[in-house]
Symmetry: none
Subunit: 613 residues, 2 copies
């Protein structure tokens, strides 16, 4: 049976699909978060996609339902379109997949001192009186630039190319150097061209920032969903996949490497930079993503006592990972702190300088896990809690990611108002929306301390009365009717169930307990914390007021909250631009004391307390 | 914190030690094979050392346990003695360290300090309280052995195997270390198994010596003709082949690598050692052989101004050359001096210690080329002459290699007697035989000063008369009938033609001119030379008396000639057994001044003079 390559734009994600299968099958296989609300074929007309290539004829059913313009544009229903060749398909991102991948990051002034160096030199000619070897003549000029270059090493493959390169370039070459090693030699003067990419590999999304290693400027950004999603949505399920399948680890690794090559391609095209002029990559990610990227088993992270293979930073050749940059290129993976506090957290510390701060600061990065760091230049403690997927919209009855159609902000006043991403009819609720809703419940008295959604006859707060008619019975318990079926995009009502509230309680209980234990370990009071830095996507979209209302962040800290954008990405960029910052990452790892919450006797008590409102 | 230099006698090995650390720490760091049986402090009294400088007071504990004599001699316990200054310490070699003496024709004591190290460790188990990564737990035990191991690097492929290796071996592993890098990790305790091979790659023959890197013992030797001979008999013809054929260089390289793999196989079978227990290879050879082995073009060695690609030593992974030893194995190619003075000459200097000698010595290694080194610890000069293939039996009418059937020694008295290798009927003459024959011609007056073979009517020396009937006419000139056809193995007569004599004259002229110019460059007289060391196969088989008779070696040096066997091979072995010796090789390269004879104005004059008898 023939297989074809189907490329989904604009995320540039490729899947292989078999002859006669549908675009819907390919989309499902891709793991891209494309909704098929109706679940059946040719019914709801929501799975419209634009087929860029090849041109295919509209089916009778499509002609009947689509406008002339849509047909001319090549719009087709994914559930009806059969695959008989390679195809390029554009997804309607505005409608379906406007992933608010956080690309912005806190810019920080830092001396530029890139991880790799380039030196242009002109060698002396050899003569019968000065029969110096090619390498000696190269080194003699390099040593004039830096006496430490005396002990430079050179790999055999570079050395093999040296004599002809010198002679073809009339002894004018540019030498690429990494600390004590010559990585490559280029003909002529290429010393002004050196670019690098900082990668932030998240469980869900991956972002790459192309940087000019001399000016420090960001030239292009490219991001995508992490295609490992098809092997599992979270780190535990991916670890299970790696453990239980032959070549599972290799497959997970090659999947992320393939994406990185696509992002490398994308940023180089966007910025008109040759891939061969990219020499350095830095990589951050949680410990599992970090391990999968390096082909290290995450098996022992996932089980007690949760140990990673490596914490310290590691450098390797890009060619060892088949990453398509300059053959001399190097990959710099930042260090991790523990099995569940990864290189992304190290990068957050790097970007926010908590480790240098006189004041005590708290950094919180909430995703599937919540990672927290508390401290100052004197001492740093960190922990990780299984925040659960509530904030990412998963396991919530009407939950969805922060894409178009998601209710992202809600305000409970005399009446309730909400906003929807993409300004369209709502399809579900994303994490920040859920946070606002539950904060509203607390505010107007729709739930009690333990989080129970009250029946109207149990209301004690008069403000709750405005919402009496929204309390309905669902699966024998109370539920809150957020949006009636008639007002939603798919004709299904959007509810908040008791289970949804419990999911959120578990997440906020874990995080607030984590914060409490860190405060305790540092032997300080909440008042001593001068700043709370919220990093990561959810932290930047959520309403801090709501976070404090429900007790996710202690109320005492409300005025100290500051959003720091994608601080993990910023840290990766800093390390790329400065060897000093990259080395500081290891110092940070050594400095941070990791607190295993599971080993704290009173964690369960704090957790139970933290679940209350 | 202050650091002090600690010198260990009698091996003269220095380490740097920090203020307040103990002599035990310094000894551990040194890697010298000194035992600490008890493992704790001040218990077993086995780690006694003699502190030569400074004088330090005995501790109470030492006073209690040591004899008065021991205290007066400056004996101290290494585990108790703190370092607060530079120190010179004598180790009790008899008791503690089995320093084996190298079995080679060059007698030399050398401490064994192999290029690679193995350390067996048992890791601590991780726990929820101590969630250290696998690599951290590995390093924490290694650092106890040597504080410098803190900065050990590890390659990604080794790291990928680490977690499962640790768990399958119950946390007991042996780590293979090369300076600052972990090369490999093996399950269980394999620390007693570490072997290496020293290769001497000659233009004509290749020898491999399998060595036990701990005992220093030679376990097996294997040798073979260099199969590159099929691409050319000498370095110039092989260089031409490499230059003029597509993939010529690759073919020459793969040819020698294939042979090395066969020799590896052979010595491992002979000694019943697994190839996987071989971790290190050292390689010496002339500069062209060295370049071909490494896949470096010899093109620029062969043309003015004769520059090699690299002079300094280079280390690489055995796997980069597809050499079948342990996957962690490393190759150490010794440095070269110039385009025609190679790593073999460096190894000769290493083995003969000319660079450390107070007396001025001359080392001569005669093969297709004649390489010479003259000097002492103060200054060393070297040169190379195209000796031509006369001494290897090539381009001589009845010439052959030193194999069975070769006339190897000849004595001209009243009659002529000769010996044949293998005691069989002669088939030809090898280099040492030719040397004796021409020396005999000089002695009995068969040739004149210019080397012309005289007709009997021109004889002036009565001793020549005995050989009148052997002077025959061959191709219109005189020739000497060495063995009549009836007495040879193949039924052909063995002759010495005028051309044969001329070939030898060219060789001896070049070598004696080289010696003269070195003596001149060093601004000494021949009398100042205290020893003449003859290295290499020909140097060891030839009769030194004959060499002086024909003026190959100046007559004044006759009593100073010493045979040093395969000193190049000995040097390769030394470098394999001792990192200190390997590093000394680079010092030697930097110390030796290379004299390009072609650039010496009076070389041709000396050469012409040197051709006379």
């Amino acid at each position: 049976m023939n297989n074809y390559a189907i490329t989904f734009k604009p995320v540039n994600y490729k899947v292989s699909a078999s002859e006669g299968s549908t675009l819907k099958d390919a989309l499902v296989k891709s793991g891209l978060d494309f909704d098929f609300p109706c679940g059946v074929i040719g019914k709801c007309w929501k799975c419209l996609v634009k087929v860029l290539s090849p041109k295919i004829e509209a089916l009778q059913k499509e002609v009947e339902h689509l406008s002339k313009n849509e047909i001319l544009e090549g719009m087709h229903l994914a559930c009806l379109t059969e695959i008989h060749s390679n195809m390029i398909v554009e997804l309607n991102m505005e409608k379906n997949t406007d992933y608010n991948i956080l690309q912005s990051s806190v810019e920080k002034n830092s001396a530029i001192f890139p991880l790799l160096k380039k030196d242009f030199i002109q060698l002396n000619l050899p003569s019968l009186e000065h029969q110096k070897s090619d390498l000696s003549r190269l080194k003699e000029k390099l040593i004039l630039k830096n006496p430490d270059y005396r002990d430079l090493k050179i790999g055999i493959s570079i050395l093999q190319q040296l004599p002809d390169k010198l002679r073809k370039s009339h002894n004018k070459v540019t030498v690429i150097i990494d600390k004590n090693e010559i990585l490559g030699i280029e003909k002529g003067n290429t010393s002004h061209k050196m670019f690098g990419i900082a990668f932030d590999i998240g469980t869900t999304t991956v972002v790459g920032y192309l940087m000019d290693l001399y000016s420090g400027k960001e030239l292009a950004v490219s991001s995508s969903l992490n295609p490992q999603i098809k092997f599992g949505a979270d780190v535990i399920s991916r670890t299970t996949y790696a453990n239980q399948n032959d070549n599972g680890l290799k497959l997970l690794q090659s999947t992320i490497l393939k994406l990185l090559n696509e992002l490398i391609d994308d940023v180089s095209k966007k910025s008109n930079i040759k891939r061969d002029d990219i020499y350095a990559l830095t990589v951050v990610g949680n410990t599992c993503m970090h391990h999968l990227f390096l082909g290290l088993t995450p098996r022992y992270i996932a089980a007690v006592p949760y140990v990673p293979v490596i914490n310290e930073s590691i450098e390797l050749n890009a060619s060892e990972l088949n990453l398509n940059i300059n053959p001399a290129g190097r990959v710099f993976a930042l260090p991790t702190i523990a099995g569940f506090v990864g290189a992304d957290t190290v990068a957050v510390i790097l970007a926010t300088d908590i480790d240098k701060s006189k004041d005590i600061k708290l950094a919180v990065d909430i995703g599937t896990n919540g990672e927290m760091v508390l401290g100052s230049s004197k001492k740093l403690v960190s922990c990780s809690t299984a925040a659960g997927p509530a904030f990412e919209g998963a396991q919530i009855s009407s939950g969805m990611r922060g894409a178009n159609g998601a209710i992202d902000h809600v305000c409970f006043g005399e009446s309730m108002t909400y906003t929807v991403i993409g300004d369209e009819k709502p399809r579900g609720i994303c994490g920040s929306g859920l946070l606002d809703i539950v904060a509203g419940f607390v505010k107007v008295g729709l739930i009690n301390k333990r989080g129970k959604l009250l029946s109207p006859d149990k209301f004690t707060n008069p403000a709750a009365e405005n919402y009496s008619n929204r309390i309905i019975t669902y699966n024998d318990t109370n539920a809150f009717l957020m949006v009636p079926a008639s007002e939603t995009a798919n004709g299904n009502p959007i509810l908040i169930t008791q289970n949804d509230i419990t999911s959120l309680q578990l997440a906020k209980g874990a995080i607030s307990a984590g914060i409490k234990i860190l405060v305790e370990k540092l032997e300080i009071n909440l008042d001593d914390i001068k700043e709370v830095l919220l990093a990561g996507a959810f932290g930047n979209y959520m309403n801090p007021h709501s976070a404090c209302t429900i007790g996710l962040i202690p109320k005492e800290l409300r005025s100290k909250i500051k959003m720091v954008g994608n601080a993990a990405g910023s840290g990766a960029k800093l390390a790329l631009l400065s060897q000093i910052e990259f080395e500081r990452a290891d110092e940070i790892t050594n400095k941070v004391t990791y607190i295993e919450l599971g080993a704290q006797k009173h964690f369960n008590l704090e957790f139970a307390r933290g679940m209350q409102f």
